[in-house]
C-alpha cells in the first residue's frame, strides 16, 4: 500500500493512470451480456457509431453496443463516481466516517418522487424528473428546518436530514400500501431496489451535467473540504470560509446524488464504502483522494452492474447487489482499520 501511495504523487498523474484503466474495463463491460460480443465487434460498432458511419447497415451488434450497453456502462461510471465523490465530501463535512450521500434525505425523497410518478402511470422521464425534484426538496426542507431551529451546529442539520429521510420512507410505505399490487407496486418495489437496466442516452446526459460539474467543483475545493474534517472552529481559524464551503458541498453533493438516484434508483453502500477504499489505497492528499474516489466509485459500480446483468438469467437488482457485496466488504475494512489506523 505504501508504494502505491508514494507512486502517483499528483492527482493528475493518478487521473492519467485511471482513465485508460477505466476505458479498458468499460470495453470489457461492453462485451459482456446475454449476447457476448468479441472485442473486435465492439470496437467496430463503437468506431462506426461514434465516427458517424452513416449509410452503413445497422446490424444487431451495433444496436446492442451503442443503444443498450454503452449508455448503461456510462451511467454506471457516472452514478458510481458521483455517489462516491458526494460521500467523500459528506464524510469530511460531517466529520463522520459513516456519513453517506443519503444523509440529508436525498434518497428517500427521490424514492418518494419516483413512487408517486409510477403510481400516476407516468413515463420513465417523468419518474426520473420527479425523483430528482423530490430528492432536492427533501434536502432543501432539511436545510430550512435547520435554519429555523437556529442552533448553528452540524448535528442539527444531520438530525433534520434523518427526520426528512424517515418521513419520506413513511410516505413511500404509504404509497406502496395503496398501490395496485399487480402493476404499480411491482414497479415501485423494483425501482427502489435500484438498477441500470433501462439506462438510455438521455439518462447519461441527465447524469453527466450534475455529476461532472459537481465533481469538478468538489475537486477544486478539495483542500478546503479536507480541512473541514478538523472541525468548523479550527477550519475557520485556518482561514476556511466554513459557511460557504458547507453550502458548496451540500449543493454539489445533493445535485450529484439526486441525479444518480433518479437514474439508478436506490443504490446504497457505494457512497459510504468507496471513499474508505480510496483513503486506504491512495492516502489523504485531497485532490488525489477526490480523483481516486471518483475513479474507484465508477469502477466499483461498473463491476457490480456487470455482475448484476450476467450472474443470473434474470437481472439481479443493483442496489441489492451493492449491499450484499458492500456490507461485508465494509466490515472487512473495519477489521483492517485497527491495524492501519484509517478511521
Amino acid at each position: 500500500m505504501r508504494s502505491l501511495r508514494a507512486f502517483p504523487d499528483s492527482g493528475w498523474l493518478l487521473a492519467a493512470i485511471a482513465l485508460p484503466s477505466i476505458a479498458i474495463l468499460a470495453l470489457g463491460s461492453l462485451m459482456l451480456g446475454r449476447y457476448p460480443l468479441a472485442p473486435r465487434v465492439v470496437l467496430d460498432a463503437l468506431t462506426s457509431g461514434l465516427l458517424g458511419g452513416h449509410g452503413q447497415s445497422v446490424d444487431a451488434a451495433s444496436t446492442i453496443v451503442l443503444m443498450v450497453r454503452l449508455p448503461r456502462v456510462a451511467a454506471a461510471l457516472l452514478v458510481g463516481g458521483g455517489l462516491s465523490t458526494a460521500g467523500l465530501a459528506y464524510q469530511n463535512l460531517f466529520r463522520n466516517p459513516m456519513a453517506s450521500p443519503s444523509l440529508l434525505g436525498v434518497s428517500a425523497g427521490a424514492g418518494f418522487g419516483a413512487s408517486l410518478a409510477i403510481m400516476a402511470g407516468q413515463s420513465p422521464l417523468v419518474v426520473e424528473t420527479a425523483a430528482f425534484g423530490f430528492g432536492l426538496v427533501s434536502v432543501g426542507v432539511a436545510i430550512l428546518v435547520d435554519r429555523a431551529v437556529g442552533v448553528r451546529s452540524i448535528v442539527t442539520l444531520v438530525l433534520c436530514g434523518m427526520v426528512m429521510s424517515a418521513l419520506f420512507q413513511a410516505f413511500i410505505s404509504l404509497l406502496k400500501y395503496v398501490a395496485d399490487p399487480t402493476e404499480a407496486l411491482a414497479s415501485i418495489t423494483f425501482w427502489l431496489m435500484g438498477g441500470l437496466g433501462k439506462a438510455s442516452g438521455l439518462d447519461v446526459a441527465f447524469l453527466a451535467a450534475p455529476v461532472l460539474v459537481g465533481g469538478a467543483i468538489l475537486l477544486l475545493c478539495s483542500w478546503r473540504i479536507s480541512v473541514l474534517a478538523l472541525g468548523e472552529m479550527e477550519a475557520a481559524a485556518l482561514g476556511v470560509d466554513v459557511a460557504a464551503t458547507r453550502t458548496i458541498i451540500i449543493v454539489c453533493a445533493t445535485a450529484m446524488s439526486a441525479a444518480a438516484v433518479s437514474v439508478a434508483g436506490i443504490v446504497g453502500w457505494v457512497g459510504l464504502l468507496v471513499p474508505h477504499m480510496a483513503r486506504m489505497a491512495f492516502g489523504l492528499e485531497p485532490s488525489r483522494l477526490t480523483i481516486a474516489t471518483a475513479a474507484l466509485g465508477g469502477v466499483f459500480l461498473l463491476c457490480m452492474d456487470d455482475v448484476a446483468r450476467t450472474i443470473a438469467p434474470v437481472e439481479v437488482p443493483l442496489g441489492v447487489l451493492t449491499a450484499i457485496v458492500g456490507a461485508p466488504f465494509f466490515l472487512l475494512l473495519l477489521l483492517n482499520s485497527r491495524r492501519r489506523g484509517w478511521a
Binding site: 469530511n92 474534517a229 478538523l230 470560509d241 489523504l284
Partner: protein
Amino acid sequence: MKAVEVIGLSFQRPRQATPILDDIGLDLAEGETICIIGPNGAGKSTLVMCVLGLLRYAGGRVAIAGDDIATLSRVELARRAAYVPQGAHSTFAFSVRDIALMGRTAHFGSMSAPSSRDRRIADEALERTGIGHLRERRFAELSGGERQLVLIARALAQDAPFIVMDEPTSGLDLGNQRRVLAMIRELAQAGKSVLMTTHAPDQALNLNCRVGLLRAGRLVARGPAAEICDQPTMEALYGTPLTRLTNAERKGLAAYIPFL
C-alpha cells in the same frame, strides 16, 4: 499602534441574564505574551474564540495590527491570528505533516492546493518545534504532548504575528509542560504576540509575562505576573485556601497548590 487591542469586549448567550464576558479590555505589543488566568467556567475559552473572531461578540472591538477583525475576511484574519486549540482529534488518519500543512490554508487560493514552498514552510515549522522526526506519523497516534507541539507547528506554518493558545499545557506531563512553555517563550522572542489561557499562575511567573485574571467573565486584575499573582489574590480568584511553594534558587517563581 498595538499589535492586538481588545476594547470593551462582551459576549452573551441568547436568553441568558448574565454575560459570559463583560467589558474585557487588554492589549498586546509585538513580541509580548499575556496569560489569562482564571478558574473553570470563567470564560477563558469564550474569550479566545471571540478574539479569534470565531464567536460573534455582542459588544466591543478586537483589533489586530490596527484593523477591527469584524472587517477582515476569514483568510485575512487567519493570516494575522493563529489558533492553537486545546487538544485536537481528527476523524481521519492525517499525518503530522498533513496537519502542519493545513496551517498554510490561508496562504494559497481557495481553489488551489499547497505549493512546494508551502510544504517547505510546514516542514520547517515542524523542525522548529523539534518534532521533524514525527513528520510521517499519524497525528492521532501521538501522545498529548507531541500533538500539542504539532498544533503549535501548524500555527507557526500559518505565519501569523498573533498566536492564541487555549490552555496549551492542559493534560500535559511536567516535561511536556516545560517544552511547550519554552516554545512559547521562543515565539515571543521571535516577535510573535501570544495570548494564552491557563489555570496555573506558575506558568505566567515562569514566562515572566503580563497576566489578566478572569473571574465570572470580568477581568479583575491586570499587570506583570510577579505583582499580580500573590497568595491572597490567587486564593480569592480560585475561592480556596492555597499553599505557596517557592525555592530560593528560583527567584520570582512560585507555585500554588490546594491542600486538604
